[in-house]
Symmetry: C2
Subunit: 195 residues, 2 copies
DNA sequence: ACGTTTCCATACGTACGAGTATGGTAAATG
DNA sequence: CATTTACCATACTCGTACGTATGGAAACGT
């Protein structure tokens, strides 16, 4: 009934979802440790009083935010799976998504550098497991036996994770656009066997 | 039995080096954020007063500790380089060192999950650069042209970094010993071309 | 119109960790 | 023996960030 369901634009009042969304943006920008309730409140144009009406505590906010992100990520994975039927092309699109794409991806990148956080650790484990399963499935569709597919999936995902790490260290835009493309081509050629 | 020195000899007094060493142990165990001067002092069997006699502040301790570790790591790399003449075998030994080995390795693993730390970031960049250079050199010795060797080195080190990440997430001993060996064999076969 | 609910501001309480001030004691030094 | 120096303990201050208490105002129900 109320117009609190209206997402953007003229909002006279905030919802819990708004806080979660903004928290994810902050995580993507400065990491999970930067999610402080007072600074976040300033970012939202309000004060702590508002926050503690919507959430019991900071931990609760993080929990909800991470759940929201995980659902979103799982959905992304599912659609990209059903969208591309060729398993090889599916694997290639997985890598290609590394450099581009924005928020969802940056959130994951930030979360990886906070893998020691008690709320983040199990999440990362679930997400990695889920993604590797998809990669594994693609390799099986190509024709590898389960054992081999498992190894390939692990190596593929490791290469992905490691590249993320290297990206973050170099605060510089890392590689030039063409160098990035050349490297991606190499990776794909090495990890995804040709017909 | 003494309680003041679990380290070496019978030391009635501590040196700055002792603090740095213990800090590195703590980093390996619980990450850099766990390096708090009071808790560290308790670990050393003394109090803050001692710490601030040896160091100006916490930042100074971390700086010295990380320098010490970086030197140690660079020396390790150098010796392993000169010890193994066959470039292929050199690369294999690099991977094999992933699962085993102890402190130095765990410190690096912990530092990777703190890549946002201002003192850690440049260190990680230097270390990654130095290590990749060695890997790149090995690939060149095998016979790849510089461009190809660069790509292979980046992919190899990414796979290494990513595997570290996966290891840390699963607090579980991750893979069984034989599964680990099987995976390593696969990685080596995939990334290091046979004669 | 009036009370209730929703949403938020303000002010306070508290815990933790870095850093300081100061003093004590044992060993070295003259 | 006296005194300086090295090393450490104790007791503080201070900044930060979480959480609470309470009150105010707009929106809503009846």
């Amino acid at each position: 009934m109320n117009q609190s369901t209206a997402k953007k634009k003229e909002r006279s009042t905030l919802s819990a979802g708004d806080w979660e969304q903004q928290a994810l943006i902050l995580i993507a920008e400065k990491g999970i440790r930067a999610v402080a309730v007072e600074s976040l409140a300033r970012r939202m144009g309000v004060t702590k009083g508002s926050f503690y009406w919507h959430f019991n505590n900071r931990e609760s906010l993080l929990e909800q935010s991470l759940i929201r992100w995980e659902k979103h990520d799982a959905a992304n994975l599912q659609t990209s799976l059903s969208a591309i039927e060729d398993p090889r092309e599916r694997l290639r699109s997985f890598f290609r998504r590394t450099g581009r794409e924005k928020l969802t991806h940056n959130v994951y990148s930030s979360l990886c550098t906070a893998s020691d956080h008690p709320q983040v650790e199990p999440l990362l484990e679930r997400v990695a497991e889920r993604r590797m399963k998809h990669i594994e499935k693609a390799f099986e569709e190509i024709g590898f036996d389960p054992k081999e597919a498992s190894h390939r999936a692990r190596l593929t995902y490791s290469a992905y994770l490691g590249f993320l790490q290297l990206q973050q260290q170099h605060q510089t835009p890392s590689l030039s656009s063409e160098e990035f493309e050349a490297y991606m081509t190499h990776v794909i050629a090495t990890l995804i066997p040709e017909e």
